[in-house]
Amino acid sequence: MKNPRWNPYVVGVLIGLLSIVTFSVANKPLGMSTGLAQAAGACAMPILGSDQVAANTYWAKTAIPAWDYSTLFLVGTMAGALLSALLCGAFKVSSESSVWIASFGPSKAKRLVAAFLGGIIIMYGARLADGCTSGHGISGCLQLAVSGWLFFIVMFASGILTAKLLYGRSVQA
């Protein structure tokens, strides 16, 4: 299998061009976590009941669970990644990563539990900050939004510290 990865600078230029297109013809910035919060609302319906979800201030005002631009963008993102993986033969059911294994061993259960917890934490942070690496990191920073740059810098610093604590022993991996 030949290396399917493209030059990261080329990919960055293409993502930049894509955001110019979405800003201009759709009047939408690139973003992920609002759509995910809408999806969370949909997941909450069978647990909390749809009345509860409809009555919630956040879901009613900011993240209405519906098939709209934000949630369909998520569907497209998954389809695009799947298409890319299939085209280059990179689709593979797995959960191994060398950095993780070097620190925490090959246990799949451990990795999945950690990923689940990480998912809870990252999403709470993304909603509290009102954006993620896409909404703040790319779309916010490229508009010179103070919130975007604040997010980028603090997220980076926090990530460096966390990586030191979690994977400090695995520097050779």
Partner: protein
């Protein structure tokens, strides 16, 4: 008022969402940023792929959208600078990103390439999203108003003209790329 170029509406806009997402997901995977190791190693200064992709996208997208905005062909969508909420949220996000090994977008894309850990984290993100919605009233009353400066942009904050800030952005990206190239040569 919608900007002049924003001609997509109704169901066209929804189809466009799928199409734009498709391109985004394809690019994330081809860029190599749907990989746990690539993301975590950024925070250890051992792999700069994520930084290269993001800074290039910011510089190219930033200049392009600034030009369109200057011609009234595109609108800005600025998120509010709520100092405590954005700062605290970003700090929590950084912890989550390193533990999860993905960010929300790259995680979602990784799920589609068969990554089971990304899928477990997607389930976690649903729980996190529910937790935020359930605590939102408290957050809105106690966290969001602290240091709320509204839709603030760097040109206003720094008191500099737009073009100076964009020139600075491009220069900064170039500087970062030079530093990264130096670090990669050493490794």
């Amino acid at each position: 008022m919608m900007p002049f170029l924003a001609f997509l509406t109704g169901s066209e806009l929804l189809w466009a969402a799928v199409g734009f997402g498709l391109l985004f997901g394809f690019l994330l995977h081809r860029g190599g940023v749907t990989d746990f190791d690539v993301i975590v190693r950024l925070f250890q200064f051992r792999d700069f792929t994520v930084l290269k992709v993001m800074m290039t996208a910011i510089a190219v997208g930033g200049v392009g959208i600034a030009i369109l905005h200057g011609q009234d062909l595109a609108q800005y969508h600025i998120k509010a600078t709520n100092l405590l909420a954005v700062g605290l949220g970003a700090a929590i996000f950084g912890v989550g990103m390193v533990l999860y090994g993905y960010c929300p977008g790259t995680g979602l894309a990784a799920v589609a390439t068969g990554r089971m850990d990304a899928l477990a984290g997607l389930a976690g993100m649903m729980v996190g999203g529910i937790a935020y919605a359930l605590t939102f009233d408290w957050v809105a009353a106690n966290i969001l108003p602290v240091g709320a400066y509204g839709k603030l942009r760097l040109p206003e904050l720094l008191g500099l003209p737009e073009w100076v800030c964009y020139a600075g952005l491009v220069a900064m990206a170039a500087g970062i790329f030079a530093l990264v190239a130096k670090a990669e040569k050493k490794a």
